[in-house]
Symmetry: C2
Subunit: 472 residues, 2 copies
């Protein structure tokens, strides 16, 4: 612990009380490693403010003592953006005590949630009012509103409702100078200069600490229909999406799965079976929803899929006959990563290109990777309708200790080069954090790197907000 940290901790304890300052290493330990267990950090203390004023007080102390802070929500990030540096030179700033839903209204279709509110808690609060917060993802039982906003999280419902950026109507945050930015009025129109709200979304805590967020709600789902379809190619899958979207506004989930991924999970994941009897090179999981209780969504989806079959867009399809079967279909999509891990070492790439370019990208990039690195198996699955797939490369016959650090890194650079050449993004929804910072530095244009650094330095000249993250 540095002297400055020591002084800050003592001062914070004096001003905010013992509850807000945790120094017991056992209590801190679960929070200094990222949840995938890949990056190990250290912190001499974890500060846990209970109000926006307490956050402001901590940030002012940090600025005064020049001690960096690492804001953290549920610690469920995919890029180690909330993991402190290993040398203990920063303190953790846990937002989990700020867990109040300050207000929620079905009439206004808005909720104001503090940064530490867990996503599932917000889901439940909205549900009780007959409403819904439509963003969801695997870690919903742990991830927080502050973390979701700071990383502009995505998930499986982006097709219809967008990422967090589309669902945030205002932000309260403490800026690096300790001032409080209050954007909680929930204004639908506000043109008073640069949008600090938009700048803080996706900034991963490097420009300030988000303390509360105004979120848009939509009417609760009255019914859903889930189907599984077999298609010849990713292009056919996209054709199906266009076909459906031209005829209904109800499509909410549209996930692409390769036959190879399906076979893998049928082998490794218990209680799974293929929805269709024949063999198909590619599969699509479609979910349609309606908020209107009089709308027969199953009949609509069945009719549309029959028409798509008739037109030769799909080769076969089956509608889930029950909620249990719908869940079983989703389980197939959600356990691909688990099956890959069981199979051996796998590299994950969360990438995006323009939606129209994705079918060709999947096909060509997989072939190029497999040609360049013989023995590996490359495939893509996920959010085709968002132009965002998880492009995974399995070690295959190359599996050997140290593969990640040797060939693995070369493969990742190769994939990132292909994505960049296609005008795409090397981080579609997971962010940059620590893990993708070197690749961002390597691949972003000099003008963009200059702009990111200039903005960071302008708002956080002492570098106290989440150092070593995001900005290359």
């Amino acid at each position: 612990m540095t002297d400055a940290e020591d002084q800050l901790i003592a001062e914070a304890e004096r001003r905010l009380g013992a509850k807000a300052v945790i120094t017991d290493p056992k209590e801190i330990e679960p929070w200094v490693t990222d949840w995938r267990g890949r990056v190990h950090g250290a912190a001499p203390a974890m500060l846990a403010p209970a109000s926006t004023e307490e956050v402001a007080e901590i940030v002012r102390l940090a600025a005064e003592h020049r001690v960096p802070l690492v804001p953290q929500g549920g610690n469920t990030g995919m890029a180690a953006g909330a993991t402190p540096p290993a040398d203990g030179s920063a303190l953790l700033l846990s937002m989990r005590r700020m867990n109040r839903i300050r207000s929620i209204s079905a009439e206004n279709r808005l909720a104001v949630a503090e940064a530490g509110v867990i996503l599932a808690t917000l889901h439940e609060a909205a549900h009780e009012l007959g409403m819904r917060f439509p963003l969801t993802l695997g870690s919903r039982g742990s991830c927080t509103i502050g973390g979701l906003t700071s990383t502009n999280a995505g998930g499986t419902q982006v097709l219809k409702f967008g990422t967090m950026r589309s669902l945030v109507a205002g932000i309260e945050a403490v800026l690096p100078d300790g001032s409080i930015h209050n954007g909680l009025s929930g204004l639908k129109k506000d043109n008073r200069g640069y949008s600090l709200d938009q700048l803080l979304i996706g900034a991963e805590g490097t420009l300030g600490v988000i303390t509360a967020v105004v979120l848009r709600l939509v009417p609760a789902i009255a019914a859903r229909a889930v189907a599984w379809a077999g298609v010849e190619s990713p292009q056919r899958a996209l054709d199906l999406l266009r076909f459906l979207e031209a005829r209904t506004g109800s499509i909410e989930g549209f996930e692409l799965v390769a036959e190879d991924s399906l076979q893998l999970l049928l082998r490794h994941v218990p209680d799974t079976r293929a929805p269709l009897s024949g063999e198909h090179k590619w599969h699509v999981l479609v979910e349609a929803t309606t908020a209107d209780p009089h709308h027969d969504i199953s009949a609509e989806l069945e009719r549309l899929l029959a028409a798509a079959l008739e037109q030769g867009i799909i080769a076969d399809a089956v509608l889930a006959a029950s909620e249990a079967q719908a869940e079983a279909f989703w389980k197939l999509r959600d356990t691909i990563s688990e099956a890959e891990r069981a199979e051996g070492q796998t590299l994950a790439h969360d990438i995006s290109v323009a939606v129209a370019d994705m079918p060709r990208f999947i096909t060509e990039a997989s072939a190029e990777v497999e040609r360049k690195f013989p023995g590996v198996v490359a495939t893509g699955f996920g959010h085709l309708g968002d132009g965002n797939i998880h492009f995974h490369v399995r070690a295959g016959s190359h599996a050997a200790p140290g593969w990640y650090e040797t060939e693995g890194e070369a493969i990742t650079r190769f994939v990132d080069d292909l994505v960049t050449a296609a005008g795409g993004s090397i981080s579609a929804e997971h962010g940059i954090g620590q893990l993708k910072r070197a690749e961002l530095a390597r691949l972003a244009s000099p003008g963009r790197i200059h702009a990111l650094r200039a903005i960071k330095h302008a708002l956080d000249p002492s570098g106290i907000m989440n150092p070593g993250k995001l900005v290359p």
Copy 2:
């Protein structure tokens, strides 16, 4: 003309040719005064690049010679944000020669338009493909895509489709250091650090020059239904909106009009008549649209309004029986400002508060202004569903030369104080430009002013991009 300007003009002529450099005062003259004729500027030259590379060349020259540039589209702004300073110390940068629609696709629902493309031109191009760019406003025949994006323009369809911020899928811009930011891939998901696109939207050309924009398209309208309803109060109008929105996704326009405004325009605007026979304190114009040719939108709106009448939410309503009548209803809404001008001096305030607070705000703020400044007439009309109304104050019995500059300014400060106290915005959709800069400086929090200045200085350290605008 300064020596530096002289050198820049000569160098630009040499590199880009005579077509790109206009120095004839007669050709420049129409563009140095804002369209409302309130602010008069001067510029020794108007630069008119035809490509992104030419814009970059001009910005690099401007940086080198330290000559500020004032980007301009259709010169239709409401806050004189595109009007050069009066001392001739800056050059106009006209984007109107960059007027190509680079691509447009119904399948991808995207268009890439250069900054100088006129909104009406984009409307037509989309229409030819059976699609629609849903943002529209009065100046659609002159305003440009670059200007609309730089001011985050709103208009009458924001209720359903949002402001420009919601409709922009990517931006190409020249940053103040002359580098080109290329965000035209149209990625739906991209988390590679701070969003420069979002920072440039609404920045009014102070952080760079937008050269092209990717825009979202929606399916063309198959049919619309327009109705006029009489209500007891702004709160009843909002009740009607909630009632409709809970039952249909088709409501696209929802405009509030006071009886006082209606009487004024019936008096001053030829060929107008009241849609309802009885007297009502407040009126609402409702527009519902559908992209589905099988959907009987008139029947739906009629049924919903009948139910609202039954429940006592509205006092009366009439559905336009023809397109001509629908146009006549819209004419009533669109000629209020014209009628006010005919009546005498009027102060316009483009303000917003939270949607739920707007009914009370209209009622209370009007009363407070009329009490504080006896003789004036205050009223609000416009986009109730966006929490954005045009709060206008007529001189009434106070009409005397110089009223704008004396009592007028005091009234504006009083209104802005009321808006700020209500957590609202003193510029909902018109921006800050030159005209609202002093009020922004007076009313924004010190933390916010510091942040705006820091961002501006970080990206434009020499202050060459649209000086004297937006940043307080």
